[in-house]
Every structure is written in structure tokens, then in C-alpha cells.
Amino acid sequence: MSARCLVATLSLLVLVLATLSPTTMAGDNESLTASYRAKGQAGLDRLQQSEMQQACSGPVGMEVAADVATKIQKAAMDGVVLPADGKLLGQWEKGQKIAQTGTGMQSSDDPATPNGGNCYACHQLAPEEISFGTLGPSLAGYGKIRGQSEAMLKYTWTRIWNSHAYSACSHMPRFGDAKILTEEQIRDVMAFLFDPASPVNK
């Protein structure tokens, strides 16, 4: 970690701690760790919150302070990694499978099996698939509506990599940042969204 990054992280931490109300800090995390046990790939370290997680754990309806939100978004944006070869689109057929697959990183999942993206849990994608969730916006016709400009491709890649770059307390997992999906898998999901032949755009 570079010195600059460390300073940024520390100052963010201080800011977050300073802005949290006393009630959200009152928790006794010893009782929390005593209530869980490590299983499979899920160790007790997963109970430790990141600064973002802590800032975004307030009661429902409580907004994070604007400056905290800005810091979180900036840190997220700075961490986005675009493919070195500049290739942002893979195979939509593979992306479709990733969008349908719900497993990955659970204590019960085999770490050797590739993780899914579970996009359909929260988003509508291909109009032909009737089993989709509504926690996130509909992405039906995504590429047909938005086109394939470089800016649009990069925006979408960033959304998938770390959605907090645009929305501080987004509920969407950080698929790239948290290493849920590989770079190749994200390319395939991108193709599923953008390829004119993909059922998303039919």
C-alpha cells in the first residue's frame, strides 16, 4: 500500500468514526464474534467491517454525511482496475450463465468452483427470463438502449467492479473489487449486457 493511499485510508477512517452517531457505535463486537464460528471459506475475519461497511450500517433511512459519501465513492473509483488490454467485452453466452448462478463465497460453497454473479436475484435482464428480482433496476435491453460508446462501457465496467464508486452505500456487491468475479467473468457479463445478439437486447 502506498503512503498516499494509507494516509487517505486513515483520514477516511477518522472521518467515518467522527461522523457516526453514538448508537451505531454502541455494539459489542465481542458478543458478535462469540456468536459465529469459522466454516469452510468463511472465517471470523469476515465479521470485521471495512470503513464503507461501517459507515453504511446505520439504521434504515439514515443517510451518510455528504463528505463521507464523497470519500467512499472516491476510494472506490480509485480502486477500479480496467483490463490492461482494453478488451471490455467477452462472450455473452458465458455471461448469461454467470448471471443465472447464485453460488459463490458461501461457507457451503467449494472455493474451487467459480463464483456466480447472481445478477437475476436483483435485476431483470433477458426479457424471456421471468424469474428475476426487483431490488435493483431492470437491465432489460441494456446495450440496445445505451449503445456501446467507450464511456458507457467504462461506466458499466466500473458499476460491476465497485458500485460504490457511484453510490456510497450501494447494496450491489463489489464484483471486481472483492474478487467475486474474475476479470474474464466480468467481460462475459459485460457482453451479456451489451452484445446485440444477447437475449438481454432481444
Binding site: Q100, T101, G102, T103, G104, Q106, D109, G116, N118, Y120, A121, I130, S131
Partner: protein, 165 residues
């Protein structure tokens, strides 16, 4: 059937016999006798055995005999969408005179033939049951009435509910 037989399951719950379990054990004794009365359907069961191994609806229907005639005298009720394919409720009601048999067939299952019911005179030609449906599929109810085969067909969609993980 003795009390020690009851304990062979080895499960802690069976360690102590309550009054009701003793009564059940009595019912089991009678069950031995009643099992004899499964004998009349044994021949029917054996005749149907191959049916459960058929892999296509066509083969099932061929094995049943004539191709059934679609009939609006059969009311087949299934959910339009099932939240889980492992339990799909089905009700078949036949208004065809002299209905003697009702067969349940799930087109897309690896083995489509699911169940057969024989309806004696005293019993109404209506049965509810629950079956596994592997994927979105036609459900076919075949009814034998006065020795002839009739059918009704309905599609049930099977979807993924929940987190999928």
C-alpha cells in the same frame, strides 16, 4: 412385531415407547394382514412397472395402448407457475362415465410416467396428489373410462425462487 423391533431405528426418539406408539405397533400387526390385501393390485403394479422406465411421453402412451382422445370432460388443475418443482400439486377430475383409472404424466421429466390411480365404483373420479416436475413442462392427465383412453393437458412453469444459492 415386538417392542425391540420398534427400537431398531436407533434414533433417540424411539427409545421410549408411549401409549400411542404401542397402539401404532398394534396397527402394524394388522398392517401385516392388510398387506395381504395389497395382493390384488400386485398384478396391476407389475404390469405398470415398465411404464415408469419409459423416457418419452410417446413411449408411455404406446405402452398404455391407444392414443388418448383429448376430452373437456377431464378437469386438470395445476398451478400456472410453481415456486419449486419438487412439489407441484395436481388435481384431476373426470366426468366421463365409468372412469376406472387416472394416470399422471409429466412430459419433460426424465421418466414422464409419475403415478397411476385405480378408482373403484364407490369412489368419485377425482384425485389430488403432488409430484416433482423437473422443469417447465406439460402435465398430462390420462383417464381410462369404459376401457377407452382420454386426456387433458396443461403447462406448469417451474421457476427458481429465492437467492439461488
Amino acid at each position: 412385531m415386538t417392542v425391540s423391533d420398534m427400537n431398531n431405528g436407533g434414533h433417540s426418539r424411539r427409545e421410549v415407547l408411549s401409549r400411542r406408539q404401542v397402539l401404532w405397533s398394534g396397527a402394524r400387526l394388522m398392517g401385516g394382514l392388510l398387506l395381504l390385501s395389497l395382493a390384488p393390485i400386485r398384478a396391476w403394479a407389475q404390469a405398470l412397472e415398465g411404464m415408469f422406465k419409459e423416457r418419452t411421453v410417446d413411449d408411455v402412451l404406446k405402452a398404455l395402448g391407444d392414443k388418448p382422445t383429448p376430452s373437456d370432460q377431464i378437469v386438470l388443475t395445476t398451478p400456472d407457475i410453481a415456486e419449486n418443482g419438487s412439489v407441484v400439486p395436481i388435481t384431476v377430475k373426470s366426468s366421463l362415465p365409468s372412469t376406472t383409472d387416472i394416470y399422471l404424466i409429466i412430459e419433460k421429466n426424465p421418466n414422464p410416467f409419475a403415478a397411476a390411480f385405480a378408482i373403484p365404483d364407490q369412489t368419485d373420479a377425482m384425485i389430488s396428489a403432488r409430484v416433482k416436475v423437473a422443469q417447465t413442462s406439460n402435465v398430462i392427465a390420462v383417464v381410462k373410462a369404459d376401457g377407452k383412453l382420454f386426456s387433458a393437458t396443461r403447462e406448469t412453469k417451474v421457476t427458481l425462487g429465492g437467492c439461488g444459492g
